[in-house]
Symmetry: C2
Subunit: 217 residues, 2 copies
Amino acid sequence: MALIAPDKETQIPDIVIGRLPVYLRALSFMHQQGKRTTSSSELGRRLGISSAQIRKDLSHFGEFGKQGTGYHVQHLIKELRLILKLDNIWPVAVIGAGFLGHALASYNGFEERGFQIRWIFDTDPTQIGKVINGITIQSMNELENTIELKHIKIALLAVPAVHAQSVTDRLVDAGVEGILNYAPINLVVPDHVNIGYSDPVVQLQHMTYYINSDDQF
Amino acid sequence: MALIAPDKETQIPDIVIGRLPVYLRALSFMHQQGKRTTSSSELGRRLGISSAQIRKDLSHFGEFGKQGTGYHVQHLIKELRLILKLDNIWPVAVIGAGFLGHALASYNGFEERGFQIRWIFDTDPTQIGKVINGITIQSMNELENTIELKHIKIALLAVPAVHAQSVTDRLVDAGVEGILNYAPINLVVPDHVNIGYSDPVVQLQHMTYYINSDDQF
DNA sequence: TAGATTGTTAATCGATTAACAATC
DNA sequence: TAGATTGTTAATCGATTAACAATC
């Protein structure tokens, strides 16, 4: 079997899937503010997206609104969580206990949004055994065993660029299917593995194209 | 990354601009490996992009290759740096000196790619005056003055979500034109301001759609 | 009811790809 | 030269938007 996703799911454009978490984040914000209902136009205004696009995106998955009144915020949140498989907490491993790994392991914003950092790995003997936010730093020697034993599917990769590909290969071999890569390098993985990239420099370099540098230097 | 609409004058699609930093990163990697020339097909293979797309993207800016032999790596790097305005080092401010702000200020991978973290701000009196990687944490009271005095154009926003919009308003009023937002919230800014988003949870929630959770829970 | 807003269709807009003459 | 690869065109593919009947 070449692909995991069934036909019906593959028919939905990936770009649509990518917007759902943004909708979810905005809806959760509205919910916190006490808003009970919203409309595609209100949501679109907040996100800088057309109302038509929001309605079209949602229509791939069902009918979640009511003519005349719009969407019930809490209900739409629940539906989006189901679509994105967020009805359980995904356990996550952090690879690399440098400054960034520390920051990720210390961040408490994951759990309410569907994830929990449960493991952190490093090669540095002086780091191994230390505890960050209740998580004990493990040796990279235990990587494969732990992944297989705990059925870890998702990892945050915060190792130096030179090691990113080799660690990725180990993660994939052990069964990881989703990697958020913080190293500034492109990873090569099998088709069934999902990679997300987080390289701040790439984003900054995108911006500088649009920023006039005349009075900067 | 959500950016302002490209100038009608430039006519170059924003999605093309967004790929240039990725090309640049891959080319720099090749250069480090000692590669002197490459081709659109080799580059495409590495990045999972078609060779036609790479040639088309580059053709918006000029003719950088040679039939039969491809592209001179070092030359193409130089051209891309010019296009993206990376021929000088952009000074950058970090807002927020929590774990993430610390990690950003401590990261030494910015400078060789066109950026230098030069300022870091926080409200916490116990943090102000401390030094991270040679940078003294300043009071948020000095934010506007410093931005205006130093003509700061780019900021990394690493403050709690509840403060992200109000701090953004202050940054924009003071003259900042590019913000990389690490807070899990959508920002509203004027058209001329470029926003990049870095919310790991949004990326993880995108992945989980494709990951089978059957044996996970 | 009258106004508001959905879900959906068709048209428009934009991006990607295949193909190939040019040429190193 | 012969093989390789570019830059570009036209065709294809896909995504966004405008518009509106349905209906709350």
